[in-house]
Amino acid sequence: MATSNSLSGTVQAMAGTIDPDAGISAAGEPITEAEALQRLRQSEDHSQQYYAAWWLGRNRSRHPEALPLLLAALRQRRPRDPGAGVEENAIARNAARALGKLGDDGAIPELLAALDDGDDGLREAAARSLGELQATEAVAVLLRRLASGPAGAGAPRLDSPRLQEPCEAMLEALGAIGIAEPGVITLIEAFTAHDRPLIRSAACRALLQLSGEARWAEPLMQLLDHPQLQVRRAALMDLGAVGWRPALEPICHTLAENSLKLIALRGLVEQGAHHDATIQAGSVLSAMDSLL
């Protein structure tokens, strides 16, 4: 459990990152857990709260105060008002992300409520965290938010390049939670025909996780040849999250950073035993060695 959480956490952190090493500069100066808790507790300096929320998640704090303080930070959000400062919402989003990494189910009810927040960035963070927590309670809400399909939930917004719903995060959460009911499968299948390759990738990843059927791996492996680097990166992370060992060769040959290939291959080693045993972990390790 801890293992699969830490891998999916890494995968998610990397998937949204342009430079694989960018996390380092985001880390800022080293602080202690006590300092992080203190920074989150005060409320004058929002940037300190923002950093502290990130820190507690990144370090998977087990301190008893971490959960209540992060929940309080999640509650600081307000209705979205583009004209006003949205610092509290930024803190709430970081708190939602951190709550997924603590691994404490006590966060689930408030994360569920955040899935219906007006801030789609917060809905995205909450969806990812509920996926990390494998919160079966979230399936019904995720299905409801995605029910209108690619033409509704998956339609582009007028005011930004984002979609009506954070479809990628929500689809990935459904895959991670692991409830393979027909209603879930049918809904996700509709998104495999979405215009955007990143959404198709997320849908195929979820279907592959839920069904184990090789037909959903094919589109992902084709996306490893996509002309856009960003799409190839997403397909790498998705195949790694599923641990689809037959993708070993295509992963090694795609044009992308070795850092991302190594993360994907780690997924093949750690998550891959329950798929195709014809490719042994040893072959994946030797492929990893040559990418160092």
Partner: protein
Amino acid sequence: MRSVEIDPIGERIEAVRQAASAQALLDATCALAASDHGNGVNNEAIACLVEVLGFNNPGAAVAAVNGLIALGPEAVEPILESLDPRNYGARAWAVRALAGIGDVRGLDLLEEALASDIGPSVRRAAARGLGQLRLDALGEPLRLAVQTRCLQALVAGCSDGEWVVRYAVSVGLEGIGLADFNSEYLRPASRQALLGLSQPDGEEVPVVRLRAALALRRLDGQPSA
């Protein structure tokens, strides 16, 4: 008849410099990297391949690294001279090239990179390189001294915060432990460090434990799984 001087390497360098798209750069770099240098290595070709490392084009950088590794020791000085502390991507590729060439002149850089470079991809490449320096040409006392430095750097790398660096450290320790000319010190010290990386109380990431355990089996002469 007028003889026409044909310089395919010169043309290939020009093609890299003129490349107008990512794909063109990749193709031109592959062609330059595959050039046959005949009797003498072309310094301009080396300089051009080194330049490609800084272009933020992963495909072309892979090709350039392979080309530089194929050129071997001749490429070491130009790579060392080109290092740009502000370009992490380029540094990572340079360290990879030096790791692949395995020339002892890269030792200082590999040590420094593993110990303190901010980029995990740089530390990772350095750890791998420290386990595969080619030291056959050195005399015994110097060889041992170099290997001891490599070992010490790798042992320190066991506590790196990034799993991928610790993975590379396992690979590096295997290289040190398997080298032909082990003293009574190197192999046991490598084994001990690998033991720490192979156990759940010393290492939290499963793939690192698996790799360290594989290295231990190889050091002990058992068939690799």
